[in-house]
Structure formats: structure tokens, C-alpha cells
Symmetry: C2
Subunit: 103 residues, 2 copies
């Protein structure tokens, strides 16, 4: 199992519309990726290592796929449409990574 | 539901012993945290946004709890022992954050 993670850094003066992300962006992404998606989570950053300290990321999305190939085949044709939707909920430039789920 | 995430940045010249992390460190942490843990995953970084590019994090751990209070009550008494185990598998200084699981 592999995990595609997208990280939205918590940057001063930037906006992130969690309602749009959860209720509009992610459903659109899920519809486009279809059955290739094996699960996923959305996290809203609350705090860093100290209580009350800012989180590193205001939001993170994690989507599970059976393999890197499944992910690439599912995402490739829709990447442009998915990225074009990002400005509707944030002006943060996200970073991404692909991981192997070990546990 | 809240998620405690620990991120190990992918830094040149640093080591990370995934076998020790998965088979020794995490089982020890799970034993100490007991029933407060509601789930979790361990991810091993494979790639960044481009195929073959390095991942941001060589490893990530995500542990689920019912609330921030449950997490703090479970982790507090064991934080010192858990942190003392880190040098056995890595010389990377991890970063952490607490998130609310939205989906």
C-alpha cells in the first residue's frame, strides 16, 4: 500500500478554506480517482510540539493506493483539473510526497 | 479524533533504521500508551512530487487518539522514555504536530 500525502505549510497571512477543501475539493478528487482510492484522511493542524504552538501544517491530506503505478494511472489524467481547483481554497503552495505504508 | 504526527526530515548523511522503528520502537510506544491509542500508521518516504525525487520525510508516524487530553494523559508519563529511545534508530531531529482528523 502506498500513501500520497499533500502538506499545506502554516504560513503567516495565508488562507485555507477547510470547508471548501472537505466538502468540495476532496469529493471532486475522489470522484476523479474513482476505485483506485483505497482510503484516506484529512487533518487540520491544531498545534506543534508545545501546547498552543502553531502546527507545521494547517492541513494535510493522505490518500491510499495499492501501488505507485495505480496512483500515477489514476492521478495522471486529472492532475491539471485537480491543481486548477487549489486557488479556490488556498494560496499556500503545498508540498507532496509518496510513502510506503509500513504499518 | 486527533492525530499525533511525527516527521523525520530526509536529511543528507543521516541514518534511519526502519526495522528498529517498526519492530522495536513503535511496539514499545504502543505498550506504554495502551488503550488510549485508537489507530495509527507508519510511512516510509519513497519520492517527492517528481518520480525519483527525494521525499521530504524519510519516515512519518501517525497515532490516533480520541482527544488532545487523552493524548496528553497517555503520553505525558512516558515521553522521557520514548524520546530516550530515538537515538537507537536515528540521528534525525523529528518534528511533530497534533491535528484534528476531519475525514
Amino acid at each position: 500500500m502506498i500513501k500520497f500525502s499533500i502538506f499545506y505549510p502554516n504560513e503567516e497571512g495565508k488562507k485555507f478554506d477547510m470547508d471548501y477543501y472537505v466538502n468540495s475539493h476532496i469529493p471532486m478528487v475522489m470522484e476523479k480517482l474513482g476505485g483506485a482510492v483505497k482510503g484516506g484522511t484529512i487533518d487540520q493542524g491544531l498545534a506543534g510540539s508545545e501546547p498552543g504552538s502553531p502546527p507545521i501544517y494547517v492541513a494535510m491530506g493522505h490518500i491510499l493506493f495499492d501501488s505507485v503505478e495505480e496512483f500515477q494511472n489514476a492521478m495522471g489524467p486529472h492532475m491539471e483539473a485537480i491543481m486548477a481547483d487549489i486557488p479556490y481554497y488556498t494560496d499556500i503552495v503545498p508540498t507532496v510526497q509518496i510513502s510506503e505504508v509500513k504499518m
